[in-house]
């Protein structure tokens, strides 16, 4: 046990972990030449065991064999660094107080934790916050809240650790930042909301996850949607569900696909082996293509080649290609290509689409956003954007919210534990694209920053005071 503890406390371990982190970041950065940014994040950083592609270290023209090198992933390195920091902390910074001082210190520490939680959850702030004020003061106010939490924690450290309070606090701040980033990686959700002028939208497109959705449209009053999430879209698998009158065989999940083009214009060599699809695939060519580079800013358009089977007999009912190119929100509403399927007297529309999340406030009541107006001003005589802004109507009947608000660059709306940023616009300025981020730990960088700042400041003032006294 002592050996493990001394290993965890060693500076050598810190140096090794930081060195390995540097190699991982280097490899992950190079990997973005060949792969999308989110593929790299999952393969290298948001994992315990990374598999580094050997060719990333060589020019792509060299025919380097595609070996995968096992390497500690970002999560593993992060946790080991955390354990290392905790072990050093526990060994170096011993609680120096006893009796009433220790009790008071622990009580103030508990109060500090409460303030930190309050700042993170936004206690005392407005539930609907579309900011009209200056961005500088907004950030200043957040740092102020962080400073208040840091001050309480510093008081606790003074009671518990006396003259080492500053050092303890700044190490605690770094630890908090590390843990915060882990939670951000695990739970932060990025999504978009695409809304045409006059349209009301009540769902978000989770842009890093996909689903294969079958919408049964036969009923006049409502639609029934059955969704197969991306983790189930594995080559060769057959997905059965009581709510679907057919089984879905996954022939191939493609990480990226080509934009649809007329089959008749495709060279015969490419058409050879192209499956006999129904619907759009019968006259359009949609093929697998390599992933776009994360460095280019382009997006992958995954596709899935599926065959519907009779659940009783296994008889094939038709083969379909469904690509993200067919989903209107992927192509900024330039077109809409639902794959129509009729079976057993029921009509279905199928899409491979971003995972859809219906908008709900934390209390559970649904909300929607209507785009009242989209303004896109350009500098006179040029195509350079000067300002683009969305005037929206936020409605949550359950919570009694009906507010006209404005979202524009660097001035997001905060509502329902989400932040809505002005991100883009539809062709001909016919609508808006909002980026929606849910990150309950978004205040942690502000808080850790101020905790480290207060800790360093206190340490500096203390050392400076000691220096002055010595030289007095």
């Amino acid at each position: 046990m002592n050996k493990i503890l001394s290993f965890l406390q060693s500076l050598k371990l810190t140096v090794w972990l930081l060195s390995l982190s540097m190699v991982l970041v280097f490899a992950g950065t190079l990997a973005q030449v060949d792969k999308g940014i989110w593929t790299v994040m999952d393969q290298y950083f948001r994992t315990y065991l990374a598999l580094i592609d050997l060719p990333v270290f060589f020019p792509r023209t060299w025919n380097v064999p595609h070996f995968l090198i096992p390497f500690p992933g970002g999560f593993l390195l992060g946790w080991l660094l955390t354990a290392n920091l905790l072990a050093v902390h526990a060994h170096t910074f011993k609680v120096l107080a006893g009796g009433w001082r220790r009790t008071a210190g622990l009580a103030v520490f508990a109060l500090g934790v409460l303030v930190v939680v309050g700042v993170m959850l936004g206690w005392g702030t407005a539930p609907v916050a579309a900011t009209e004020d200056d961005a500088f003061w907004r950030v200043f106010l957040r740092l102020g809240r962080g400073a208040a939490a840091a001050a309480v924690l510093y008081a606790a450290c003074v009671l518990l650790y006396r003259q080492r309070a500053g050092m303890v606090l700044l190490h605690g701040g770094i630890l908090f930042l590390l843990i915060g980033e882990f939670f951000t990686a695990l739970f932060a959700v990025e999504a978009t909301m695409t809304i045409k002028e006059g349209e009301t939208v009540n769902f978000l497109d989770r842009s890093q996850e996909l689903e294969l959705a079958f919408t049964e449209t036969s009923r006049p009053d409502y639609d029934t949607v059955t969704v197969i999430p991306q983790p189930r879209l594995k080559d060769g698998d057959v997905v059965s569900d009581a709510n679907l009158p057919f089984d879905v065989k996954i022939h191939r999940f493609m990480a990226n696909s080509t934009q649809p083009r007329p089959l008749e214009n495709v060279p015969a060599v490419m058409k050879a082996g192209y499956p006999q699809y129904e619907s759009y695939g019968s006259r359009l060519y949609i093929g697998e293509t390599r992933e776009v580079s994360g460095a280019t800013g382009q997006r992958n358009a995954p596709a899935v080649d599926v065959e519907l089977l009779d659940p009783e007999t296994g008889t094939p009912l038709g083969r379909y290609i469904l690509s993200l190119w067919m989903y209107p929100n992927f192509v900024n509403r330039s077109w809409d290509m639902p794959t129509a399927i009729s079976f057993g007297g029921k009509n279905y529309e199928a899409y491979l689409r971003f995972r859809r999340e219906y908008a709900k406030a934390p209390g559970g009541s649904p909300f929607s956003i209507q785009l009242l107006d989209f303004v896109h001003e350009k500098y006179e005589g040029t195509q350079m954007p000067k300002d683009f802004a969305s005037k929206i109507l936020l409605v949550n009947e359950g919570d009694g919210v009906e507010r006209e608000l404005r979202i524009w660059m660097n001035n997001p709306l905060r509502y329902a534990r989400r932040t809505f940023y002005q991100s883009g616009y539809l062709p001909d300025d016919s609508g808006t694209i909002l980026q929606v981020v849910r990150n309950d730990t978004w205040m942690i960088p502000y808080l850790s920053c101020m905790i480290v700042f207060v800790g360093m400041g206190a340490q500096f003032i203390q050392s400076f005071g000691r220096y002055l006294r010595r030289n007095a």
Binding site: A83, T226, P229, D241, R261, P262, N265, M337, A340
Partner: protein, 188 residues
């Protein structure tokens, strides 16, 4: 406490599991665009009853309401962002029009000789149709345009989109133009 810390990553991993279930839910009907698409299926080639002419619509083409008063007809092509439309103007100078289109895709002006080298001429509804494919490979933008003289006016069919999309559908545009039948009027 230390055991708890060791168990934390495992707990978080377990918490992140559970994705992967097939789910079914009901939603209110809200798909006017898809319904409209079904009402006008793109599979069948149909004549385009636009102002003063008919033409065979290639598969995947759809006539849509013109987006401006200047346009006589507008079309979309499924799976592309191509904007294909017809306008009628009284001027018909080839060089100035082609150079205007070249400017729109970021190319410099060309001489009449260069333009005529790239021009294709075929018949559309018994009339001469001068056809141009203008591609800027550097920025990926292009225009396919055709001028048909219908005195006293000139008809301009213009398709705007990316170079890849236009190249993939250029054959369809030529087939569409060659299938044009005028409904009388004009100088006929």
């Amino acid at each position: 406490m230390k055991r708890m810390l060791i168990l934390l990553p495992a707990g978080l991993l377990l918490a992140s599991c559970g994705r992967g279930r097939v789910e079914t839910y009901r939603v209110p009907k809200s798909k006017p665009s898809a319904e409209a698409q079904r009402a006008a299926p793109a599979e069948t080639a149909a004549p385009a009853p636009a102002a003063g002419f008919t033409a065979a619509l290639p598969a995947g083409w759809r006539e849509v309401p013109p987006s401006s008063a200047m346009r006589e007809a507008s079309y979309t092509i499924e799976g592309t962002g191509i904007d294909f439309y017809l306008i009628s103007l009284s001027m018909g100078d080839v060089q100035s029009n082609v150079n205007r289109w070249r400017g729109q895709v970021g190319l410099s002006a060309a001489s009449l000789e260069e333009i005529e080298q790239d021009m294709q001429v075929f018949t559309a509804g018994g009339r001469e149709c001068r056809y141009f494919e203008i591609y800027n490979e550097e920025n990926g933008r292009g225009i396919i345009a055709a001028i048909i003289e219908r005195a006293p006016n000139y008809w301009y069919f213009t398709g705007k989109g990316t170079v890849d999309e236009l190249k993939a559908h250029a054959g369809e545009m030529q087939a569409f133009l060659q299938s044009i039948q005028f409904n009388g009027g004009g100088d006929e």
